[in-house]
Amino acid sequence: MNYADLGLRVGIEIHQQLDTRHKLFCRCPTELRETEDASFEFFRYLRLKRSELGTEDRAAREEVMRSRKFIYKFYDTTCLVEADEEPPTEINREALLIGIQIAKMLNMELVDELHVMRKIVIDGSNTTGFQRTALLAFDGYLEVDGRKIGVATLCIEEEAAKKVEERGGEVVYSLDRLGIPLVEIGTGPDIDSPELAKKVAKKLGMILRSTGKVKRGLGTIRQDVNISIEHGARVEIKGVQDVDILDRIVEYEVIRQVNLLKIRDELRRRNAKVCEEIFDVKEVFANTRSKILKRAKALMAVKLEGFSGLVGMEIQPGRRLGTEFADIAKTFGLGGIFHTDELPAYGISQEEVEELRRAVSAKDGDAVIIASGDERRVRNALLRITERAKFCLVGVPEETRRANEDGTTSYLRPLPGAARMYPETDVPPVRIDEEMRSVDVPELIEDRAKRYVEQFGLAEDLAMIMADPRYSEIFEEFAESVGASIAARVLHIIPSQLRKDGYNVDGLGIEDFRLTLSLIRDGKIAKEGAEEVLKILTEEKLGEEEILSRLSPSQDLDDFIARLIEEKRDLIAERREHAFKPLMGLVMKEFRGKVDGKIIAEKLRNAIKKELEKS
């Protein structure tokens, strides 16, 4: 695909959780919990307020129509602030300082005074119905492949509650995540290829990790991608967790928009139109063998004139236009839809399809969509689906979509309008003063890695890992004394191997690595013994003495050698210096991995020499 000809423009928005002691607006720890640890739950509804123009936010309006009940799980690590039962504290200064650090690394300008805003979000993921967010910095850039990619804004905001479960009209959220500080970084729409999108995201991730103050692991960083092509529309793709599929996401979205434009052209050629009426078709399926339809309280249909064959057309790998309609139905709490391009199937017979067509007076070239469930939801979902179907004649709708694991995307909601923020009056503005501005900028992982390659001769990929703030300090502490490659082995290579072998490597902390490395440095264990020490430490937190006693054989090396010399006196007398080789084998059999081979050899040589001198 020629992305330049298509006019591809991509912007990335990264959300990164910060590893602060407390949440952004309360003093709860930033700790994730298992839902079964919840101490109690409560439920709420959210209501939409009209904006000053009497128009409601497009995204918000749809949420209210769904009118869901939100259930929240509360823990002993959450408080009344997360429950929207107590005013927020002042903004967490630690988070603010990390934000400033990142802004400086991205060559951004800082605001003089930070104002916390309430951004309306009424999908229940914020108990308040809004997300607290503040603009901290703007107008920066980062360099990728020698190109300057603009960084438009950096905001500090609170993380939303995690969705646990969705059942019918209810959504269950867990409050542990709500309020963890996030930085939100938005690039300009300067990216013009899928590959560059991935590179920019990776570089941003590297910069964030360089601070050593961001959360690590699955779900702690999320990318949103804004994608548009000429004649297409701006589509926001939410929640890409795996940066490695970012290029594919861009590629697939381009394919989707190109296909939607093809569908548009074909529909226009056919003079297609969408019938406004919603038909009650419960009668048609009175004796159906489809379990889903049989159970349904309400069963309704809409007619899309001239859409036949196109609803079933693939627009992304494995996804058809009909899948887009089904996505909409799901946002209204329905299981999905059926459409005539895929019927008869799913227990729906040819006769039923024909009767359905008759019931809505559909001609051959028409497609019929049916939805089932409770009446209000079905009606609202079908209304929204007809609206979407009409837009097929216009082109690509602006919308927010969710990233799937395979790189495709699903419809989530319309693109939110801009005017949905007002000040969080409970939190005073913060002047960003000189002291805050002068916070130190950490060395980039990338730069540090270059240094490691030059200074220690490490391989580049290993250097990148050692340069990560998780390792860099301890690596530098031991790189000279034990050797860089041994330090890297202990810190990364051995633990990776142990992880594969099923050891709980996550339980290893900096102190465990420090202990292991200092044992090597002090010659108390051989470098080959590191694996054994780490294995022990994944299971038990033992001190140096205990570890050595577990490692050391029944007697120590000197005793062993002395006894051996005594036993093999004849051999030594006979073979003289050449007795070393067979004797070394015997000692190594006992001490391999526990004592450095060089030390053993030296001791044994000395003992043999002494024995020979004696005789």
Binding site: K49, S51, G54, L110, D112, H115, M117, L135, M421
Partner: protein, 405 residues
Amino acid sequence: MKAKRAKIKAKGRIFEGIVLPSEKGKIVLKLSSGYNVGFYDYEIIEEEEIEVSFVEPGYPAKRDSLPEVKVISTGGTIASRVDYSTGAVTSQFSAEEIVSDIPELAEICRIDAELLYNILSENMKPEYWIRLARRVYEAIKDGYDGVIVTHGTDTMHYSASALAFMLRTPVPVVFVGAQRSSDRPSSDAAINMICSAHTSLSDLGEVAVVMHASTSDDFCYIHRGVKVRKNHTSRRDAFQSINYPPLGRVWPDGKIEWTGERIRRGVREPELFDRLEEKVALVKFYPGLSPDILDFFYEKGFRGFVLEGTGLGHVSTDWVETVRRIAEDSLVVMTSQCLWGRVCDRVYDTGRYLLKAGVIEGEDMLPEVALIKTMWLLGNFELEEAKNLVKENLVGEINYRTDFN
């Protein structure tokens, strides 16, 4: 509505946005992205006045068949509008605005609304209670099926008590507020208001407070106006009935479950006793507090004293002489800072001395309720009669039996 738009230069670039009110020396702009930002070092390049136009929201039509309810607002935002272009939040008071904010109300009743005050509830005064009682009385006389008073939550239980004493009502007079302001999507205002509307049409003939029963948007309690207190600074379920169960539970769908004995609709004729003696003091005793505090009030002409004593109803024995002196021509009522339970000054010597000195036990009345009752008694009766009435249950403020709840 007018607003000011500006183009400024700051940090080496141009910003445009709506200028928000701020202190001198800085400018706060609302950018087109919606964010507010403050600058200290800036240069204004262009400024212009612009008109921000409101489109009136649609109002659900009144249905003639529905009963009529009067809503009197005293402040506290039960309905509000957010102006996202400037970020301003404005309270709304007209019936149309309330109903457009909470359309469910139009299904329950026809609302007439009146803005009586627009004050924070900590700025309430006895004279405001009097005017409020008169307006509610008029509404009852006008034949409304129920009256709802929207009120800031901080002193709502004082106002509810004041009306309970000043007014004999045949219809429900419901006080309602919100612990989360109504500009938030999560506000408790709507459910409290809907439940109040149902309560205002119910088989009740007294002053009540209707607020969230739990942190969930589940149902509301109907509290007796003289038995309720705000017991939490911020929670939705801050209001609790004390020394008497809630009168009932009310769900947003209109279901009501009565749980306490209540005065029913139509039992009492409307009557208004709209005098209050303002010179009544509520004094909370703490260890070491000098009785001079009583003299201070006494010298200023106060003749009503409600003591919030410790435990069963005690103040230091150092106070007995002072109490004896002022009680000669004053009403001195003892309540307890324990809140839960009944005052009894016959268990310990101190209590017995206080009784001899002229203190009257406030039974199981809340200190705030005893304060209002004393104001009302002194406003409407001679001292001796007032003394007799303190321990008498007049409007449900005293229960002679104490239950386990």
